[in-house]
C-alpha cells in the first residue's frame, strides 16, 4: 500500500528528472517543461506531508498557490521565448548572447 515514502520517492524522481531536463536540453521551451516538473514535485511533497504527518490543510493551500504561480510563470516565460524568437529567429539557449559584455 502507498506509504509516505513512495510519494516522497515519486516526488524525488520528478525533481531529478526536471533538473536533468533543465541542465541537458538546449531548447528554451523544453527547459520550461522541466520547470513545470520541478514545481509539481514540490507541490506533491506538500500534499503528501499534509496527508501523512499533520492533517490540517495548509499544505493544500501552499500547493494551490504553487499551481497559480506556475501558471503565471508559464505565461511570462512563453512571452519571453516568443520575443526572443522574434529577435533572433531561434530558441536555442546558446543563441541568447545579446546581453554578454
Amino acid at each position: 500500500m502507498a506509504s509516505l515514502y513512495s510519494y516522497l520517492f515519486l516526488s524525488f524522481f520528478m525533481f531529478v528528472i526536471g533538473m536533468a531536463v533543465m541542465i541537458a536540453r538546449k531548447n528554451v521551451i523544453a527547459m520550461l517543461l522541466g520547470i513545470e516538473l520541478i514545481l509539481n514535485a514540490a507541490a506533491l511533497n506538500f500534499v503528501a506531508y499534509t496527508r501523512f504527518i499533520n492533517q490540517n490543510l495548509d499544505g493544500h493551500i501552499m500547493s494551490l498557490f504553487i499551481i497559480v504561480i506556475a501558471a503565471a510563470e508559464a505565461a511570462v516565460g512563453l512571452a519571453i521565448v516568443i520575443r526572443f524568437f522574434q529577435v533572433r529567429e531561434s530558441i536555442h539557449v546558446d543563441d541568447a548572447t545579446q546581453l554578454q559584455a
Binding site: L4, L10, I29, L64, I67, A70, A71
Partner: protein, 178 residues
C-alpha cells in the same frame, strides 16, 4: 483496493511521462504530450491523497491551461520537426569526463548524507498512524483561503494581473517610433 490501483497507475504515468520529457528529443510536441501524461499522473496522486479540489485544479489549470500554452508556444516558434538546425534539437554531447563523474558521485553522497541527517530529526516522531477516511476538502479550503490565508490570496491575484499584463507587453511586436 481501488486506492492501490489508482496509486500504481498514477505512479506509472508519472514515471513514464517524466522520463519521456527527458528522453524524447526528435519532436518537442511529443515531449509536451509526455509532460501532460505526467501531470495527469500527479492529479491521480492528489486523488489518492484525498485532495479532491487539488486534483480538479491540477487537471483544469495544468492540462487545460499550461500545457496548451506550451503547445501554442511550440507552434509559434517553429513547430515540431521543421528546421531542426534552427530549433536546436541535437544530441546532447557527452557531458563531462571520468573526473567530473567522480566529483558528481561524491557530491551525491555528501548531500544525501546531509539531507538524511536533517530529515532524521524531522521524521523522528513519524509513526504510520491509521489514516483518517477521505472527506471533501472543498469547504475547508474555501474557508481557509478567505480567513487565514487571505493576504496570500489577494497578493496572488495582483501577481496574476501583473504577469498577464507583463506577458502581453513583452510579446508585443516592436512598434517603430519615427
Amino acid at each position: 483496493m481501488f486506492d492501490s490501483v489508482l496509486f500504481i497507475s498514477s505512479a506509472v504515468l508519472v514515471l513514464v511521462g517524466s522520463l519521456g520529457v527527458l528522453f524524447i528529443k526528435e519532436n518537442l510536441m511529443h515531449a509536451c504530450v509526455s509532460l501532460l501524461t505526467a501531470l495527469f499522473g500527479v492529479a491521480g496522486l492528489y486523488a489518492t491523497l484525498g485532495a479532491d479540489f487539488l486534483a480538479a485544479t491540477q487537471l483544469v489549470v495544468y492540462v487545460g491551461g499550461v500545457v496548451i500554452l506550451m503547445l501554442f508556444g511550440i507552434m509559434l516558434t517553429g513547430g515540431g520537426t521543421s528546421n531542426e538546425n534552427k530549433f536546436g534539437i541535437e544530441k546532447v554531447p557527452g557531458m563531462g569526463s571520468v573526473k567530473t563523474y567522480i566529483v558528481a558521485g561524491v557530491n551525491v553522497l555528501v548531500i544525501s548524507l546531509i539531507v538524511i541527517r536533517i530529515m532524521a530529526n524531522v521524521m523522528k516522531d513519524y509513526k504510520a498512524v491509521p489514516l483518517p477516511p477521505y472527506e471533501s476538502t472543498v469547504e475547508k479550503l474555501g474557508t481557509l483561503l478567505v480567513t487565514d490565508h487571505v493576504l496570500a490570496f489577494e497578493i496572488s491575484s495582483i501577481l496574476l494581473l501583473g504577469a498577464l499584463v507583463g506577458a502581453a507587453i513583452i510579446a508585443r511586436p516592436t512598434r517603430r517610433t519615427n
